[in-house]
């Protein structure tokens, strides 16, 4: 016998209504059913008031109502909209995280408006309390809506398909044919067909002696949907852990120099709010050679930073020894940190010989100002022209040079802008200053410029300007000289670690897979009934893609009919 109701007893066919329930995927259905089961009332239903033991219930009524509203599909929809809308100002106003300078420009241009906008976090949209409020509410809503759905789905996964409704011909698609033979053998055959097509099936015998097959498929749709939404939560956790425990830093390194992974070595360092400096891994990276290749028109083709690195405890005692080709799109991945090439430029080798014949040589990085790498920088010498025999320090003989480095100076005309980013005919154009650079005053300042206040106050006086090609020497009015001895290239790297990255990636993978399942798997139910008097009826119901179901149904029906001997064929 093939009957398998729990205790083997026969069943009464229910109405179509029951065949239809449980196929829905929307959480409203699920939660509504949950509520009904738990005896909860509708939000506006008549069941209010402290009737019976319901005083506590009455107290909880209001919070429950809000919870239901928060976790409803409609609220999720509104929050999604708000989230999209809230992101817009993040692209229309300059953001501190992306470009601090632009924010300052904005403040300069809109002195009245900017502070107001700043109060509203317009320059830190994605770290603003209102943005956080929206996505946190959305995720609370999401979790609140997921939990009951997971429960419902888990139950559905273990439950067998429901009993066949009384009137299969009232289902959206149905077919029937006269057959001969033992109903349960016929039903078994039909079940075989459905099973082979990977439907979940159950065979039941009804009171009348008819045998039915109930079949269902497409559970993966809801599984995928739930996986997708759970993965969204994983994604948020990953993003959050990255911003709490991650860190990033940037540093500029000239050819021949190295940097090590310490906060002091970096030009900028931003730790996550829960990150402690002690967590920095130890490594050093040295830049040996930077190579930029360009097309004839100056468009860059490739950048390559030949570096050596060393990591672990050895980093404290030895020089970097492992070679690596650091490139754009090809970061150096170390234990606990990655190093990314994000910028590059030139550093002229400047040699100053002072009144006492002492030579001061430096290779200050000049920062690129345009795509042709016209670069601006400064060479500040607070310690020059001091009489070596005297112990008194004179401040008015310090020197400073500011100006531009041009990788390729124009062959004629004023040497203001480079005409190619490639160093084909490098030149510097410098203005010299003598006097007090202000560097003794102990205020940390940018090394890329001089203190304009010192110039304005007359403490620093110009001693002329000059264009120099490689090797040329500029003799100043006091007989001291400045030589443009050559140039080196520098790289700027971003260094950082994001501990949430892996979780984000895995979550994104699950999101995608879940999404595809939830959008492509089709949810269907089929019922077959074979009656004692030789009638085979098949009915089907599609929850999703109903217009494609007719063909699917037809082909299944044909296959089922083929397993059953037709009435005419038998005696």
């Amino acid at each position: 016998m093939s009957t398998v109701t729990p205790s083997g007893e026969t069943v009464t066919p229910p109405d179509e209504q029951d065949a239809l329930t449980g196929l829905a995927t929307a959480p409203e259905d699920a939660t509504a059913r949950e509520d009904r089961r738990a005896g909860r009332t509708e939000p506006d239903g008549g069941g209010r008031g402290p009737s019976g033991p319901g005083r506590l219930n009455a107290l909880l009524e209001e919070p429950r109502r809000w919870w239901r509203i928060l976790t409803s599909m409609r609220t999720a929809l509104v929050l999604l909209f708000l989230l999209a809308l809230a992101a817009v100002p993040g692209s229309t106003f300059p953001q501190r995280d992306l470009n601090q300078n632009k924010v300052e420009e904005y403040f300069a241009e809109h002195p009245k408006l900017a502070p107001v906008l700043d109060k509203l976090s317009a320059f830190d949209v994605f770290a603003s309390p209102w943005f956080a409020a929206i996505y946190l509410l959305l995720f609370i809503s999401l979790v609140g809506c997921l939990v009951p759905r997971i429960r419902v789905h888990a139950r559905a996964m273990v439950k067998r398909p429901p009993a066949a409704p009384r009137h299969l011909d009232r289902l959206p698609v149905s077919a029937s044919a006269p057959v001969t033979g033992d109903p349960s053998a016929l039903a078994d055959a039909a079940r075989g067909v459905l099973r082979r097509a990977r439907w979940r099936t159950v065979v039941r015998t009804e009171e009348s002696g008819a045998v039915t097959v109930s079949a269902e498929k497409g559970y993966l749709r809801e599984t995928g949907n739930l996986a997708f939404h759970v993965a969204l939560v994983g994604l948020l956790v990953g993003v959050a852990s990255g911003s709490l425990w991650g860190w990033k830093a940037s540093v500029l390194t000239v050819e021949g120099n190295a940097f090590c992974d310490t906060v002091q070595a970096y030009d900028s360092f931003s730790p996550g709010s829960r990150m402690r400096d002690a967590a920095l891994p130890s490594f050093c990276v040295q830049l040996d050679d930077f190579q930029g290749t360009y097309l004839a028109n100056g468009q860059p083709e490739d950048f390559l930073a030949k570096v050596k690195y060393i990591q672990g405890d050895r980093a404290f005692t030895q020089d970097p020894d492992t070679e690596y080709d650091l490139k754009v799109n090809h970061p150096l991945r170390l234990d606990g940190a990655n190093v990314y090439l994000i910028n590059h430029g030139y550093a002229p080798v400047l040699r100053y010989t002072d009144r006492y014949g002492r030579v001061f040589e430096e290779t200050p990085a000049f920062l690129p100002q345009d795509v042709q790498l016209t670069s601006e920088g400064a060479f500040v010498l607070p310690d020059v022209n001091q009489d070596p025999k005297s112990t008194v320090r004179t401040t008015d003989v310090q020197m400073a040079f500011t100006g531009f480095f041009l990788p390729t100076a124009p062959p004629s005309g004023p040497p203001i802008r480079s005409i190619s980013p490639e160093a084909k005919d490098p030149a510097v154009t410098l203005v010299g200053y003598r006097g007090d650079t202000g560097l003794d005053s102990g205020i940390a300042r940018s090394v890329y410029s001089i203190d304009q206040n010192q110039v304005d106050s007359g403490a620093l006086k110009s001693v002329g300007s000059k264009k120099l090609s490689v090797g040329e020497v500029w003799t100043l009015d006091d007989g001291t000289t400045l030589q443009f001895a050559g140039y080196r290239e520098f790289m700027t790297v971003q260094v950082g670690h994001d501990p949430g990255e892996m979780l984000v990636l895995v979550s994104a993978g699950f999101m995608l897979v879940g999404l595809i399942a939830s959008l492509t798997v089709r949810r269907r139910r089929m019922f077959v009934r074979v009656t004692g008097d030789g009638e085979l009826t098949v009915g089907g119901l599609a929850r999703t893609d109903p217009d494609r179901f007719a063909d699917e149904f037809q082909s299944l029906v044909e296959r089922i009919e083929r397993t059953a001997p037709a009435k005419e064929g038998a005696s």
């Binding site: 409609r74 289902l171 799109n329 999404l515 109903p546 217009d547």
Partner: protein
């Protein structure tokens, strides 16, 4: 052929493609204009004849088969429709040739700047349309698809055009292959989805106005157009299917972009303007899919969200590339 010749060939094929699409648009337009009597009449005459179909339960809306689609147009108008299809096929082939020649000329995949990106989106849109209209009797709507394709491609070939050339180093990555192609493909699919959403809104608006008893003086522009469009729920379902097809691709494109950004810019997400708008589009399309599953939002409201989704995609493509500078400034302009 030298690279320069290939680049010239590519430009010639672009012109051929635009011309072919324009011809296709007129072919389709003639079918739409003169074939419609047939459509409307046949729809009115034949109440949906259903095989194997009975009444549904509470889920009737979903569970019943769709009403029979309008019969394809017949006669001379249909001939123009077929002509439109042929022209569109020629246009698509020319455009594929245009992209291939450019790829060979530049020695890289042909989606490295904005012109090429829009071109890929247009050819994907056209192919998507050809597939959709081969499977459903909606060919006579081709005009509504060819119009934006011609506009987008014409704009791309003139305003956005840049000569074939190699990539900037930041783009030199196999992720370019995946991220940009899938992003472009999603734009192409969403384009068709957006067009169908608009047509659905017109048809639905027309139906509503007629049902509201204003049939005596037929609805004016724009909803009057709805009279000549296929039945609303068929359109709605097609719209959904296109978006359900496009959305995972778009999701994949964004994920690939994030993976690439991690390697190139040291972080997988940084709210760069382009990233921000990709996020906005994604959320809007997610809202569309939710709306479709929410009572009271199914139908015109959901379709309006889908249209909004496409608007955000276009903002990302045009406004953000031109007006806002960010890391993604690779339009080549």
């Amino acid at each position: 052929m030298t690279d320069a010749q290939l680049a010239d060939l590519s430009n010639t094929l672009l012109v051929v493609a635009i011309l072919a699409y324009t011809v296709a648009m007129f072919g389709y337009a003639i079918e739409f204009a003169f074939g419609r009597k047939g459509v409307v009449a046949s729809r009115a005459a034949a109440p949906a004849k259903r095989v194997l179909v009975g009444a549904g339960g509470p889920e009737q809306e979903e569970a019943t088969a769709p009403p029979a689609p309008p019969a394809p147009t017949a006669g001379r108008a249909a001939w123009f429709g077929r002509f439109g299809v042929a022209a569109a096929v020629i246009g698509a082939l020319a455009q594929l040739g245009c992209l291939a020649a450019r790829g060979f000329a530049a020695g890289r995949v042909p989606w490295g700047n904005m012109y090429e990106f829009v071109s890929v989106a247009c050819v994907v849109g056209t192919i998507t349309w050809l597939v959709v209209s081969a499977r459903r009797p909606v060919r006579y709507l081709g005009m509504f698809v060819m119009l934006p394709v011609v506009l987008l491609l014409g704009l791309a070939g003139t305003v956005l055009y840049v000569d074939a050339g190699p990539l900037m180093p930041a783009l030199n990555s196999y992720w370019l292959w995946i991220h940009v192609s899938t992003a472009s493909i999603s734009v192409g699919i969403y384009l068709i989805g957006g067009v169908l959403s608009v047509l659905y809104l017109l048809r639905e608006g027309y139906d509503r106005r007629v049902a509201a008893g204003r049939a005596a003086n037929a609805p004016g522009f724009p909803f009057g157009v709805g009279r000549h469009l296929p039945a609303a729920d068929g359109l709605e379902r097609m719209t959904f299917r296109l978006h359900a097809f496009g959305f995972p691709i778009w999701t994949f494109a964004i994920i690939c972009g994030a993976i690439w950004a991690e390697a190139a810019w040291s972080r997988y997400w940084g709210w760069d303007p382009k990233e921000t708008w990709a996020f906005i589009s994604w959320v809007v399309y997610a809202a569309y899919l939710h709306a479709r599953a929410t009572t009271g939002w199914r139908g015109p409201r959901a379709a309006a969200i889908a249209v909004l989704g496409f608007v955000t995609m276009m903002i990302n493509l045009y406004v953000i590339n031109f007006a806002v500078s960010g890391l993604h400034s690779y339009s080549g302009l």
